[in-house]
Amino acid sequence: MSEVTMAQALNEALRNSLRDDESVLVLGEDIGKLGGVFRITENLQEEFGPTRVFDTPLAESGIMGFSLGLALRGYRPVAEIQFDGFIYPSFNQVVSHVAKHRFRSRGRAPVPLVVRVPFAGGIGAAEHHSESPEAYFAHTAGLKVVVPATPLDAFDLLTQAIRDPDPVFFFEPKSRYWSKEDSELGADSLAMGNARVVKQGDACTLIAYGAMVPRCLETATAASEDGVEVEVIDLRSLVPFDLETCAKSVEKTGRAVVVHEAPLTAGFGAEVAASLAESAFLHLEAPILRVTGYDIPYPPAKVEEHYVPSVDRILGAIDRVLSF
């Protein structure tokens, strides 16, 4: 039992997977000697050698298509895309092949692989280093989309993702890489595909994933000080989407606010809100609100604080649903 950051937890999950399964390969840009720009793959090349852990040329479509080929040959590639904003060159390989390979081959040629993507903002980075592209992937049938919010879950979910028979897009909230948790890795893990109620409450349900989960917990604490107990749900995976856990909560609270950093329009929050509004219709006492990034390109670092949902904005939404 000791303190572990999300970065360490991810590193450990990769290490264990490399150790337990010979077919696991870790690849990407600068993930070898450098250990990745966020050091998530630190020391892995040293430990497992340059055949299992290796740098690729600078080409994301290449990384994706090459990984698919490796998966076909029986390997379990775990590819890192250096930043959210650099996954787009691979989009054709993702949508046209990775997502469809099991389907097209009637199950004969699945391509289990994991794509790790440090994502979202809040770290004062330069342009293209703070994006939240998860909805593009959630809308693509055939991909699993996973987002951990805590070190423990990062460890569990990455371990599960690597063992999963399907392609998993694993979005790591980079602003949480250095967050610590005091717990034993792997001690008690919930299966991918299940959301988790991380705080109980009855006034309203907050639904979030990634870095917005701790943000919602902060908000919940602030609300609590005003005597309002909100329930907080960590989605953990967008696909599969655990509507049941969300609906159960809303049946109790009658109100919901969905929070994410990605732009509002056609973001994953729309899916959550639309699904919930349908399935919990008779329990809703107020409209479901979304607190999200705006429909603008991710802003420059100096003003990003106005873009990423803040405790105040979430509190504002809670107020509105409570006073509806």
Binding site: A59, S61, S67, L68, G69, L70, R73, R106, G107, A109
Partner: protein, 355 residues
């Protein structure tokens, strides 16, 4: 009009005469020489049958390969059973050589199932890849996996002249060179990418593009099955034993339309087609075999029967073949159905039941 053969390796001239000296490197027995012809003949026949089936509404669409039989058969014949071929959408001939049941292959074009109904891992023949050049990277990744396994398996990527314009072609070649992947890049330069002639696709000769990656690039007369076989065989060996990739440009010609949906008359000059018809790969090879005394009437008859049988097999397998069970649509999206997919499947089956 039929230029584009500069620097091309050629063993048989258009009249079927063999360059004996150049042919010394060939490792083909008489049986092989005949088998190449048989495969080309079957390919031609299967291709025509497929076009006919499309005209009759039994296939949704079909991209004929007529004119490219030597390129496909010669190259695929150079592969060993363990080698994996990654096709584009026009490689019915290569599929045949790799032992894919063409009915299973054609189910792609019937619209029965994306990827056809054969097992790509068992046949070592990838699923039809429509997004241009995308399959090239799969071939490279698979090849690198073979190398990591310490196996002797080689990958072969098939693609067209138009595909060389895509970024994935470039990234695939570069990855292969950097990782020393045992792969052969086999480009059928059939002079056209739908309506765009190769002269508007790129300025440099395709085989010269290998210079950009530091591995050999070779141009071959793709209507000469022996030259195509020889060049590919050497490239496959180089990949297998030295882990050096090769780019092969097989100069050939698309005698038919781009696909059955295409109206090539809008852009393909008639005279050009006529000139290339003179270079028909089957005619040339038939002359050679006949002159050698290998293609006796009896042998020919046997081959024709084989071709007829294949055509009949295709026809009986495709005509009226039932559509897939709609429930199949949810079976292989993931390893296990999500709750959401279960609900959707229920909805679809209920509606399908209603009909």
């Amino acid at each position: 009009m039929t230029d584009g053969f500069e620097d091309a390796v050629r063993l048989l001239d258009p009249s079927g005469r063999l360059d004996e000296k150049a042919a010394e490197a060939l490792d083909l027995k008489e049986d092989d020489l005949l088998e190449l012809f048989r495969l080309m003949l079957m390919t031609r026949r299967a291709d025509l049958e497929s076009t006919a089936l499309q005209r009759q509404g039994e296939l949704a669409v079909y991209p004929p390969l007529i004119g490219q039989e030597a390129a496909q058969v010669g190259s695929a014949y150079a592969l060993e059973p363990g080698d994996f071929a990654f096709p584009s959408y026009r490689e019915l001939g290569a599929a045949l050589v790799k032992g894919v049941d063409l009915v299973d292959y054609l189910h792609f074009y019937r619209g029965t199932w994306h990827g056809g109904t054969y097992d790509p891992l068992e046949t070592r023949f990838g699923m039809v890849a429509v997004p241009i050049a995308s399959q090239i990277l799969h071939a490279v990744g698979y090849a690198y996996g073979s190398k990591l396994d310490g196996s002797r398996d080689v990958s072969m990527a098939y693609f067209g002249d138009g595909a060389t314009s895509q970024g994935d072609f470039h990234e695939g070649c570069n990855f292969a060179a950097v990782f020393g992947a045992p792969v052969v890049f086999f480009c059928q330069n059939n002079q056209w990418a739908i309506s765009v002639p190769v002269s508007k696709q790129t300025v440099a000769p395709i085989y010269r593009k290998a210079e950009a990656y530091g591995f050999p690039g070779i141009r071959v007369d793709g209507n000469d099955v022996l030259a195509t076989y020889l060049v590919t065989r050497q490239a496959v060996q180089r990949a297998r034993t030295e882990q050096v990739p090769t780019l092969i440009e097989a100069v050939t010609y698309r005698l038919g339309p781009h696909s059955t949906a295409d109206d090539a008359g809008r852009y393909q000059p008639k005279e050009q087609v006529e000139q290339w018809r003179e270079l028909d790969p089957l005619d040339r090879y038939r002359k050679f075999l006949t002159e050698r005394g290998l293609l006796t009437e009896e042998v020919k008859k046997g081959f024709d029967e084989d071709a007829n049988k294949l055509a009949a097999h295709i026809r009986s397998g495709i005509v009226g073949a039932p559509p897939p069970d709609p429930g199949d649509l949810f079976e292989w999206v993931f390893s296990e159905k999500t709750k959401r997919l279960e609900a959707q499947e229920k909805e679809l089956l209920e509606e399908a039941g209603d009909q």
